[in-house]
């Protein structure tokens, strides 16, 4: 935790660095878009402060509400466009859960759907110019990854008891190799939440930062057209990445859940 004087000093440093870079001509602030700041006033960011995080998570909720509740309010047998997108999302995740975890995993479908809808909407909403990408923060993705990790681990022990440890004991390998494999398996198991969270946050952060860097180059007239082309290309890539990362996070959650429900190799 950063102390109060430290924060004050940091703000001072930021101001100073701004002045410094403006002198140089090119202005690069690729990381400024990720700064968490209060929406009202300029006070410190406390736990319950209403910040841009609140705003953009609220917009994410509204987006999900609009798609899945307002879009389906007519319950039409022949769906409207919005309703078919909602149904598509439902069918996509439902089938994923069913295919990966099996029939007994379907009762966890609402939780996985919640994760997917949040990530995919936060990613896409974060692509709007001037927006704030909540999923680019490790704090957000780490909480989700840890939640998945803890839930899956607890569920594994509740459902299978000590049998869950069979996940680490590769019974198909030669006996001599098994302890080594078990060690590797255990390490890889505990690395899961780390890779799970950093993959999403890293992808979102990197893409957005790269766009910002290209945008900084647009200040030079000679490079500006190239810069705009590069921004457009990166943006297209980011749209793809936004969906793919949401998909990857969700399917990995399903895979971990499958391990908890059926730990045998």
């Amino acid at each position: 935790m950063m102390t109060r004087p430290n924060r004050a000093m940091m703000r001072e440093l930021e101001m100073a660095s701004e002045a410094h870079t403006e002198e140089a001509g090119l202005v690069f602030h690729p990381m400024d878009q990720f700064i968490v700041k209060p929406l009202f006033g300029d006070g410190p960011v406390g736990m319950f402060t209403i910040t841009n995080v609140t705003l953009w998570m609220g917009i994410t909720i509204l987006g999900i509400f609009a798609l899945l509740v307002l879009g389906t309010r007519r319950r039409a047998v022949i769906p409207t466009r919005t309703q078919s997108i909602g149904e598509l999302a439902y069918g996509f995740i439902y089938k994923m859960v069913e295919d990966v975890t099996g029939k007994d995993g379907v009762k966890y479908f609402p939780y996985i759907m919640t994760l997917f809808m949040f990530i995919v909407f936060a990613n896409f909403v974060g692509l709007l110019p001037m927006s704030f990408t909540t999923t680019s923060h490790i704090a957000v993705t780490a909480v989700m990854a840890m939640a998945v990790f803890l839930a899956v681990t607890i569920l594994g022990f509740v459902k299978n008891g000590a049998g869950f440890l069979g996940l680490f004991w590769v019974s198909s390998a030669p006996l001599a190799l098994r302890p080594i494999l078990a060690l590797i398996e255990i390490i890889s198991y505990f690395v899961r939440p780390v890779s799970h969270s950093i993959r999403l946050a890293g992808n979102m952060m990197a893409g957005h930062a790269v766009i910002k860097v290209f945008a900084g180059f647009a200040a030079i007239t000679a490079i500006a057209p190239l810069s705009i082309v590069a921004i457009t290309a990166m943006y297209g890539l980011e749209v793809l990445v936004s969906f793919i990362q949401a998909y990857v996070f969700t399917i990995l959650t399903c895979v971990y859940l499958k391990d908890a429900l059926h730990p045998a190799h």
């Binding site: 950063m2 899945l68 909602g86 759907m113 809808m117």
Partner: protein, 203 residues
């Protein structure tokens, strides 16, 4: 933060070479440090732990709200719609099968009716033909009798006319002969003339 402070101290130490740095120098060094930080990455807002509590709190609120929205409203509704659609499709397929069977049935019935109608029609035609034939025969027979009667009548009339004509010829012949004889200057004996004419007519 650790790197920043470290860099700041080394920088200020290098420039001034003394521990007693003025406020201006400290500010300059700090600016440099911040600049270096922005380039190297420790300035990542993602690693500003002071905002973690805030983000985690709002994330949990958001996830709970989304979960409630999904599990209470969205998912049951979409599931119901999908089930209903599946049901409708199944029903429609069943109804279509039903209608198809009915259509096949109707076609068979139609063909049967057509065949029946044909048979009936040919029967009716045959019956009509027989009736007409009978009527025709009857009419022909009637006509024949009438014709026979008429021709008999005619023949009778002809015979009568012929008889009358013969008698008239005899009278005319007698009269002509008498007149001829009278015009030749002789007196005609009626009896003789009649006998002669009768003989001539026979001959």
């Amino acid at each position: 933060m650790a790197t920043e402070t470290h860099e700041a101290t080394t920088h200020s130490a290098a420039t001034d070479g003394a521990a007693a740095a003025t406020t201006h120098d400290a500010g300059h060094a700090a600016a440099d440090a911040a600049h270096g930080a922005a380039d190297a990455g420790p300035g990542m807002p993602q690693l500003d732990f002071s905002t973690f509590g805030n983000q985690i709190f709002w994330l949990l609120v958001t996830l709970v709200v989304i979960y409630i929205i999904l599990s209470r409203f969205a998912l049951p509704r979409i599931a119901a719609v999908l089930a209903e659609r599946q049901g409708t499709i199944t029903n429609d397929i069943a109804a279509a099968e039903d209608l198809k069977a009915k259509a096949v049935e109707a076609e068979a019935a139609y063909n049967q009716a057509l065949a029946d109608a044909r048979v009936e029609a040919s029967n009716i035609v045959a019956a009509a033909k027989a009736d007409i034939q009978a009527e025709l025969d009857q009419a022909i027979a009637k006509a024949d009798t009438e014709i026979a009667a008429k021709s008999a009548e005619g023949e009778k009339a002809i015979a009568e006319i012929r008889a009358t004509a013969t008698a008239a010829v005899k009278t005319v012949s007698k009269d002509v002969a008498k007149e001829l004889i009278t015009s030749m200057g002789a007196t005609a004996d009626a009896k003789t003339v009649t006998a002669a004419v009768t003989a001539r007519m026979k001959g």
